[in-house]
């Protein structure tokens, strides 16, 4: 009976599977750049940061008041939709206009 080759095959398969899962879940992130109107005051914009921080997977949240841009990175498979952003910014007291995305592997 030849056990060692079977065990080796099993180990190799497990290793490959784990690597594939790891790669797909952790490596992908999407950068969103949103055009938002009404951003005049830094103190007022804090609500935006707080709302994005409540979403799992977000990081590097930044607000450019002069250009009216909010940028966020979102890790994993989840994607933001226009409807979702429209509501998020309305709840923060501003107006969402448009969104650009950039996915990184």
């Amino acid at each position: 009976m030849n056990i060692i080759p079977k065990t080796r095959s099993l180990m190799l398969a497990t290793l490959l599977l784990g690597s594939a899962i790891n790669h797909s879940v952790l490596a992908e992130s999407t950068r969103y750049e949103m055009r938002v109107d009404g951003l005049a005051c830094p103190f007022c914009a804090y609500g935006i940061e707080k709302k994005f921080k409540a979403i799992e997977g977000t990081r590097n949240i930044d607000v450019d008041l002069d250009k009216g841009l909010v940028t966020v990175e979102l890790q994993g498979q989840r994607r933001f939709t226009d409807e979702e952003m429209k509501k998020l910014f309305a709840d923060s007291g501003f107006t969402f206009r448009s969104m650009k995305t950039e996915t990184h592997e």
């Binding site: 830094p42 103190f43 709840d91």
Partner: protein, 268 residues
């Protein structure tokens, strides 16, 4: 913002009325009222210190303010004051308020908006410092907020109730015009400074007792009020002083020397 004024009449010594404007949310005037509310499910906690001087009378107040963002355009809150007066100290009347921003126009780096608000101040404080009556304030506020320049206007009507002594204290009308300037617009996470200059007008109807007008009551006061608004991320310090520039008070009343306030505000 909160400020303290006094219902002054030599015929009813020791009567103190605490007039509190709405606590400011975000960039709003210090003595007037602006249209700003709070982000949905946001919470505001503020500590407010006020001082007022009128001839030989001095009064200070310390208030804690709590507000909640019900939606992105609607907030509600309450104010819990403690008054330190020349004649007495004690818990002031609590205030419950709500503000609804019914109009908002946003463009790049600019927000223009208008709100209605209501504040109810029931007779709830210690008798020595309370107005001993239930009051209601209704108002309308407009604001223009840009990266460098601000302007606001607000109109308030205060329905003053009859107090325990049977005095109808006379309703008040308050009108505010405010200009603001941010000399150095900064980034989101950087400290930010806005300078404000307010023109605050107050008209009070004469008080009545048993239907008869009390001669030493009512009149008009106008104040010029410089102020500053400093913020960093979710923390703000607001400070200002009201300086009387025109007073037409009926009869013999204590004229205002100044009113001052400093607030520490957190958004959570």
């Amino acid at each position: 913002m909160n400020h303290t004024t006094r219902f002054r009449t030599t015929s009813v010594p020791g009567l103190i009325a605490l007039l509190i404007s709405l606590p400011a949310a975000a960039h709003d005037p210090i003595f007037g009222v602006g249209p700003h509310v709070l982000f949905k499910n946001g919470m505001e906690v503020a500590l407010e210190l006020e001082a007022e001087s009128a001839d030989s009378d001095n009064e200070q107040a310390l208030a804690v303010d709590l507000a909640w963002g019900i939606t992105g355009d609607w907030a509600a809150g309450l104010t819990l004051p403690y008054v330190f007066g020349d004649e007495a100290d004690g818990r002031g009347d609590i205030a419950l308020y709500s503000k609804y921003r019914f109009w908002r126009q946003d463009s790049l780096g600019l927000q223009e908006s208008a709100a209605v608000f209501a504040k109810w101040i029931p007779d709830s404080g210690d008798s020595a410092v309370s107005k001993q009556a239930d009051d209601l304030i209704l108002g309308l506020a407009y604001g223009y907020e840009g990266r460098k320049r601000y302007r606001w206007a607000s109109l308030r009507y205060r329905f003053n109730g009859e107090n325990d002594a049977g005095i109808d204290r006379g309703d008040r009308v308050l009108l505010d015009f405010v200009a603001g300037w941010r000399p150095d617009p900064r980034g989101y996470r950087e400290p930010d400074t806005v300078w404000l200059l307010e023109l605050n007008g107050e008209y009070g109807k004469q008080a009545r007792l048993g239907g008869a007008r009390l001669p030493d009551s009512g009149g008009t006061e106008w104040f010029l009020s410089p102020g500053i608004f400093w913020t960093e991320r979710n923390f703000a310090i607001k400070a200002g002083v009201q300086i009387p520039v025109l007073e037409r008070l009926r009869g013999t009343q204590l004229a205002s020397d100044y009113r001052a306030t400093i607030d520490f505000e957190w958004h959570l």
